[in-house]
């Protein structure tokens, strides 16, 4: 007997929802960024699940590209956080509001 595909999809949905909650609730820019990584990973889990259940390699290739993009995004995003911290001495996203009107 094999695991129904719904179990994996439900776990992925739960992790995605936790990521959304983290983005909405937390004020620390680094934690918000880590929540975005969590959401990326839950999407990866869905892609791998379908790839495995359908016996198709394409989903795993897509996860490979998502990983590369996530690495690039983490590098640029954390560099932006460091640059903002150097100017404003805070990582609180409530105080970083110069683009808000």
């Amino acid at each position: 007997m094999q695991i129904p595909i719904e179990y994996y999809l439900a776990l992925s949905a739960f992790m995605f929802t936790v990521g959304i909650a983290g983005v909405l609730i937390r004020r620390n820019a680094i934690i918000v960024f880590m929540s975005v990584e969590l959401m990326l990973n839950s999407a990866n889990l869905t892609l791998i699940t379908f790839s495995s259940y359908l016996g198709d390699t394409t989903g795993q290739l897509f996860v490979f590209f998502v990983m590369a993009v996530a690495a690039a995004e983490a590098a640029v995003g954390l560099a932006i956080i460091i640059a903002i911290f150097r100017n404003k001495l805070t990582v609180n996203i409530d105080e970083i509001n110069i683009l808000k009107w």
Binding site: T17, S52, A70
Partner: protein
């Protein structure tokens, strides 16, 4: 209960618990370490799903490189008044829980009641064959060689961009 189901329950519950712990801890370093555990248990789930190459890449790229990078940045940034950072407004909490509940109910409805995936049955041989390094490398260097090369240039651009952004400015 098969071994597959037992392993799924172990790794899945670790992944779900560490995700919740990650967003509720006050100390960012502890959050980052819980996220490392989460990525490790996801690698275990990928192994159950016969995706060997992606499981190894997950441990090396995510749990290794990206999370060490996060820990370095947390170390560089002076610890702030976490009490102030954590004191979120109550109306924001209510708004967040409504949004989160709506999205979760929507996803659960699509997964369990819309019967999109109920006809999918795993063929073990095809599933094992799809996850090997050989299959992924063959696709990567034949049909997807242009996206692969573009990914290389994107990583180069991101590295240069990060250097320029984080560089100390001398006036």
């Amino acid at each position: 209960m098969t071994l597959e189901l037992i392993l799924f329950i172990i790794f899945g519950s670790i992944a779900a618990a560490t995700a919740v712990l990650m967003i509720t801890r006050r100390n960012p370093i502890i959050s980052a370490l819980f996220l490392v555990v989460n990525f490790g248990s996801l690698a275990g789930l990928y192994l159950i799903l016969n995706a060997q190459f992606i499981a190894v890449a997950q441990v090396i790229v995510y749990a290794g490189a990206i999370m060490v990078f996060f820990l370095f940045v947390i170390m560089l940034i002076r610890p702030e008044n976490e009490q102030k950072l954590f004191a979120y407004k109550p109306q924001l909490k209510i708004f967040a829980s409504i949004v989160v509940a709506l999205i979760f109910l929507q996803l659960v409805y699509v997964i369990f009641f819309a019967h999109t995936g109920s006809e999918i049955n795993k063929e073990f041989e095809a599933s094992v064959k799809a996850g090997t390094v050989e299959a992924i490398g063959r696709e990567l260097f034949t049909n997807y060689v242009l996206p692969f090369e573009i990914t290389g240039y994107m990583l180069l651009a991101a590295a240069i961009g990060a250097l320029v952004l984080a560089k100390k400015k001398f006036e």
